[in-house]
Amino acid sequence: MTGRSKSKPAAARGKTPAHDERRQPGPLVHVTSGGIGVDYSARTLQILLSVGGTSELGDADVVGLAYGLQQHDELGMLPTVSLVCRNVTQAKKAWDAFETWQTETDGDAVSLSWFFYAEGYYQLVIGAEPERLRFRLRGFDDSDDDLIMSGYFKKRFDRISKPTEEFRAYLRKRYSPYLFSACTESMTPIGMPILKFHGVEADVNSLLPGSPERIILGLETAPERGSKRNVNGAKWRAKMVKTRFPVTLARLSRDEIAPLLQEASALGFQTWQIEQAAANLALSNELSPGRPHYASLQRSTAVEAIAAGIRGRREAADSSDFRSLLTLECLLKQLVLDANALLKSIGQQTTSSPAQAVIKLRKAGLLETGQRDA
């Protein structure tokens, strides 16, 4: 731990998710009298929902899309796409939101996509660019997995005009800055133009089945949980162990520890299990100083304490050494406890035997990767 005490960065300060649904306190924690097993594959899922901007735009009565050129102070004459709106009030609200997004990140926080249909029309889709949206709502914290949900504004245009074709060609260039603006039917500007560098253009026929774009366009229905970052449990576990316990992992590669790992491997335990068990022993050494298996944690607070421990963990070199806990006996016991946490999450019976733990996980199809079904 670095002992640092810093405030959040300006970009993320004061931002809260529009909606925060904590479905699972994750990780998977199995508390027994003999110790606590923790599996890192489960994570807290937070739904990040953004409806601002696009919803107002939906009420702005967009009647057209104007293509033109506009002078930019520094970049010179730039192509411009301008939404022609009849409801100026709603359009202004939408633009206020877009400008806020721009301020907090950049102009590409507003995503613009042109989807062209073989029938000779196209749809413009306007939404929040997911990564920038996530940053606006969550800042730099990556300790939870997020389910990002945002609204989209879609508008069909029945004719693919020559300016549309020209703009489409422009977007295909490597460097294609343009201005995105809104105006009234009398071409009075609404809000300030947004400087953008990216835009999506694609033939609908070229979109892959299951792609988010097809879902947005209503060509496919969304899966039950909607659009999400879709990180599977095994990957999440690997990420957490790698980023939260890099020093612990490096110590496992030391020569003197090799025989221990070999013995665990000989019993059938996989590398991911051994690394996770070592991570738990290291964390236990801090939460239950000098004791394995989180022995001194209270049952009532153990889950929260462990989750917080993982969330805030930053391993520094030369930091506390957990190797006194890294005996074969401790390692095997932690492996069994961790296996039990996983087994219990799928409704399986737990065990106290290392051999049985391996067999049960194998039978459940969890041994190789530790990946549970979604």
């Binding site: 970009a11 993320a12 590409d108 930053r314 391993e315 506390s320 050494d321």
Partner: protein
């Protein structure tokens, strides 16, 4: 040193056992060397091969005949006894024939041999004791009469069976060589001219030379009466001469002693001197050592002599209808001529060789033809064919041929400054020649190896070792001296003593003049020019180069002419005499275009560019850079390419657009419509391109080029473009340390504030995904935490304590640097057993440090980077090191660091403290700095 005569004893072995013992004793009694078959021990040769070989080396033939004709081998028609007799006649060895009398049962075939022998000297004996006495007497008499085996050869008077004609006496050769004074002038005067020497004359000779005579005459007993200071004199002063001491009045004695001394010299390996003496007394042995003498002359750089002797060899081989032999000497002539700067003579010799019918030598002729073509025209195809030829020799298992070709390749590679390749070729040749026991080949390979290694860094110890291993007997020759002068001149220049270097070069030039070796002169004139240039004597240096250029032009040595002309341009450019330099640069480029010396061609074009820039002709300069760079890229001359890119990027008189456009042309990329597109193109091309460059250039070229390119990017687009480029770069690069260096230096090419903290985090995440030695974890406030590992071994963790783009960038660069140079860093720590293995480093700005910790603990303002060290270095868990960057710290080049980057300073400061931490102060500060400096600075140069 006395040389024994070799006396071959021929007889039946069992029948004449007693006689053979007697003969052996007689020969030994007068201190000569008997050659008896039974004394030769066990040999892996069949008997005939054995006695043929021994007879060849014999000076005198003794035949002892009783009654038996001897054993006839199953596959032979005559006995060994008769075979030896016939061979003796063929070789012209002087015979002493002893025949037992009476011998009533003598085989008639033996009788016939005896009758033939009676034409020379036949002595009868009745018992071994008598035989012993007669042999001793006859041998002494033979020596006393002035032994000259040629007389006996003529006495044989009959061509040996199976030969068409006897070898003519050497004196009748059509073109006698012009021989120089001998190594020891005294020997020449003493023996060859047979003239008496006065005391004064003797006294004028050096002790060394006198000593040589004394050693040579050491076996002559009372012929020498005194050795007093510089004076050697003999008995028997001739009254008719006025001098007090006189030498060797009797011509027969002169011949005899000449023979003896020549034989001694030959035994000493001084074939050329021996040849000279043998030739003076018209002794057939001269012819026998002609080839060796020629080789020695060539090896020691006596070009004229060597070429004359090779000519004699060629003529003799032609007379004897031995085209293979003639071709071999012609090829030697061609190579020697070329070496000596006589391309015309080389071409003529080659043409003569080609006209001879010697199919076995076809490949060798082609080999020399390729060499001549490469040298005289710089033909790259010929050089490539030479490599193919070597491969074909190797494929055929002809290691010797491959080694010979490798020698030629190494010469060429040295000439065009491809030293690594030259080294590889010379090493190969040295190994083969050493294995084959070819001293001459080994000698040449060794010199080429030393020459090529000397031009490379870090080879001093090996060069010293190799120089020490030069055969002592060969070390004391003018050519070797010239070679040593050449090496010394280079080293002295490197050591900053051009005056001494010039002196060495002048000495080598004088040797070249003395030897008549044009090439030697040219090489060292270039060295002299370089030294004069170092001394600021521009005109004198140019004069030397001009001399070289003119002579090389006359000798059809195009590559040398091109190199010298280029040096004229370089020297004049350095003196800012651009208008004068330009035509030389252009001429040099013209001479070297499409030749094997592409490095010098590139240099010539760069000089042209510099001249043009000096003359404000920017577009012409960029055109020259483009061709230089494209050539370097095409030929994978990475070091040249790196220099060109760095040079190009640093041209302040050229707009960024023009710099980037030129760089793109060098890459062979299409021109871009605007600066930003050009930047994207550059990224696409530069990743793989830069990865090939030497480490010390790679990072710098990346940083400078990207900096110029980004300087053209509009400010409003900078964040988006930089982020996109960074992503593209990360996607393009491999995860190797060299690509990590390119990436790290890209980060130094722009201001850290061009990217937001969000963009930095996004970039960091992608970086960690790309480079396996880096693990990134963001802090909730956007600062970064890095874990740096190498082969799963933890090097350090690096945390950022601020949350600004600048400190994020510094932390990222530090982590990238640690990861990129990890292996070198660990190597630099040496073999010390590390008490610790990890270091925890925190990066913080001074302002933040003051806020967090307090001003009283902060370093003085103006301290660029200050790294705190562990409070107690013996603690197992010391507090982290804090790298405190001054408020005006920047990652890029800093004036206060003489243009070195802030990143390199940060990295070196942190590494230094890390090393102290890891080693617990076991290594001294100065030693650590020496170890770590070379590791750090090439990375973020």
């Amino acid at each position: 040193m006395k040389r024994q005569l070799n006396i071959f004893v021929s007889s039946t072995i069992v029948e004449c056992a007693a006689e053979r013992l007697a003969a052996k004793a007689a020969i030994a009694s007068i201190r000569h060397h008997p050659i008896l078959f039974e004394d030769l021990g066990s040999h892996p040769y069949p008997p005939r091969s054995l006695y043929i070989r021994e007879l060849h080396s014999a000076d005198v033939f003794i035949g002892i005949y009783r009654e038996s004709y001897g054993w006839v081998a199953p596959d032979a028609k005559i006995s060994g006894l008769e075979d030896e007799h016939q061979l003796r006649v063929k070789l012209g060895r002087p015979p002493l024939i002893y025949v037992l009398r009476p011998a009533p049962n003598r085989d008639t075939r033996l009788t016939r041999i005896i009758e033939e022998a009676e034409r020379s000297t036949v002595t009868f004996y009745s018992d071994p004791a008598e035989l012993q006495e007669r042999i001793a007497t006859d041998l002494t008499s033979l020596v006393a009469q002035g032994f000259d085996s040629s007389r006996f050869a003529e006495d044989a008077n009959e061509p040996p069976e199976g030969t068409t004609s006897a070898a003519p006496a050497l004196g009748s050769a059509p073109s006698a060589p012009t021989l120089p004074p001998l190594e020891s002038e005294l020997l020449a005067l003493l023996i060859a001219a047979a003239m008496p020497l006065t005391v004064e004359e003797l006294a004028s000779c050096s002790n060394e030379k006198v000593g040589a005579v004394v050693r040579a005459l050491g076996g002559l007993g009372d012929a020498i009466v005194s050795l007093n200071g510089n004076v050697v004199a003999l008995k028997q002063p001739r009254a008719s001469l006025s001098a007090k001491y006189q030498l060797l009045c009797n011509p027969a004695e002169v011949d005899f002693y000449t023979y003896r001394i020549a034989a001694i010299l030959e035994t000493d390996g001084r074939s050329l001197d021996a040849y000279y003496l043998f030739e003076k007394i018209k002794h057939p042995r001269a012819e026998r050592i002609l080839a060796r003498a020629a080789r020695e002359a060539a090896r020691t750089g006596r070009v004229e002599i060597a070429l004359s002797l090779l000519r004699l060899n060629v003529d003799r081989a032609k007379r004897e209808a031995e085209p293979d032999v003639a071709v071999s000497f012609l090829l030697s002539s061609a190579v020697l001529s070329l070496d000596a700067g006589r391309a015309g003579d080389a071409v003529a010799a080659l043409a003569e060789a080609r006209a001879l019918d010697a199919p076995d030598w076809e490949l060798a002729v082609r080999e020399v033809d390729l060499l001549v073509r490469t040298e005289s025209t710089g033909d790259g195809v010929a050089m490539a064919e030479l490599a193919e030829l070597r491969n074909s020799f190797q494929a055929e298992g002809d290691k010797y041929g491959a080694a010979r070709t490798a020698i030629l390749q190494s010469k060429l590679f040295i000439e065009i400054r491809h030293f690594a390749e030259a080294t590889a070729c010379a090493r190969f040749a040295l190994a083969v020649f050493t294995e084959q026991g070819d001293d001459d080949g080994r000698h040449v390979a060794l010199h080429n190896l030393i020459a090529s290694l000397s031009a490379q860094d870090g080879t001093e110890a090996e060069v010293r070792h190799l120089t020490d291993s030069i055969d002592e007997a060969r070390a004391d020759t003018p050519r070797v001296r010239a070679f040593q002068c050449n090496l010394a001149a280079t080293r002295l220049r490197d050591a900053g003593d051009p005056t001494a270097a010039a002196e060495k070069s002048r000495e080598a030039i004088a040797i070249g003049e003395q030897l008549g070796d044009v090439r030697l002169q040219l090489t060292n004139r270039i060295n002299l020019g370089n030294a004069l240039s170092d001394l600021g004597q521009t005109d004198q240096a140019v004069a030397e180069y001009k001399t070289v250029s003119a002579v090389a032009s006359g000798a059809a040595l195009r590559l040398v002419e091109g190199a010298a002309t280029r040096l004229i341009a370089t020297t004049l450019n350095e003196a800012k005499r651009w208008a004068e330099a330009l035509p030389f640069a252009q001429h040099a480029a013209g001479l070297l275009r499409d030749t094997v010396d592409s490095k010098n061609f590139i240099n010539a074009r760069r000089e042209e560019a510099e001249s043009q820039l000096g003359l404000k002709n920017v577009s012409a300069a960029l055109e020259a850079y483009t061709e230089a760079g494209s050539t370097a890229r095409r030929l994978a001359l990475h070091s040249k390419l790196g220099s060109i890119l760095v040079e190009l990027s640093g041209l302040t008189e050229v707009t960024p657009t023009a710099v980037v456009t030129t760089a793109l042309k060098i890459c062979g990329a299409e021109p871009a419509p605007n600066p930003v597109d050009a930047l994207f193109s550059l990224v696409a091309e530069m990743g793989p391109l830069l990865s090939g460059l030497p480490q010390e250039q790679r990072g710098r070229a990346a940083r400078m080029l990207f900096a110029r390119a980004l300087s053209d990017c509009p400010r409003a687009a900078l964040g988006s473009v930089t982020a996109s480029i960074a992503e593209q770069l990360v996607a393009t690069l491999t995860g190797s340390a060299s690509d990590l260096q390119v990436f790290g230096n890209f980060l130094l090419a722009f201001s850290a504030n061009d990217l937001s903290l969000r963009q930095w985090n996004s970039l960091a995440e992608k970086t960690a995904e790309k480079f396996p030695g880096l693990v990134f974890l963001p802090f909730p406030d956007g600062a970064g935490h890095w874990t740096v590992t190498l082969d799963q071994r933890l090097i350090a963790t690096v945390s950022e304590l601020d949350d600004t783009p600048a400190s994020f960038a510094a932390t990222l660069c530090l982590a990238v640097g640690l990861s990129g140079i990890g292996r070198e860093y660990l190597d630099a720590l040496g073999s010390t057993e590390l008490p610790r293995r990890e270091a925890d480093v925190q990066v913080i700005t001074r302002a933040e440090f003051v806020t967090m910790i307090g001003a009283q603990y902060a370093p003085e303002p103006g301290t660029l980077v200050s790294v705190t060290r562990a409070v107690d270095e013996t603690e197992l868990r010391p507090p982290p090191m804090q790298a405190i960057a001054d408020d005006d710290f920047e990652l890029g080049p800093l004036e206060r660091l003489n243009g070195k980057t802030g990143a390199s300073f940060l990295l070196s400061r942190v590494l230094y403290e890390m090393a102290r931490h890891l080693l617990r102060g076991q290594v001294s500060e100065s030693a650590l700095i020496r170890r770590l400096g070379p590791v750090v600075f090439p990375f973020y140069s």
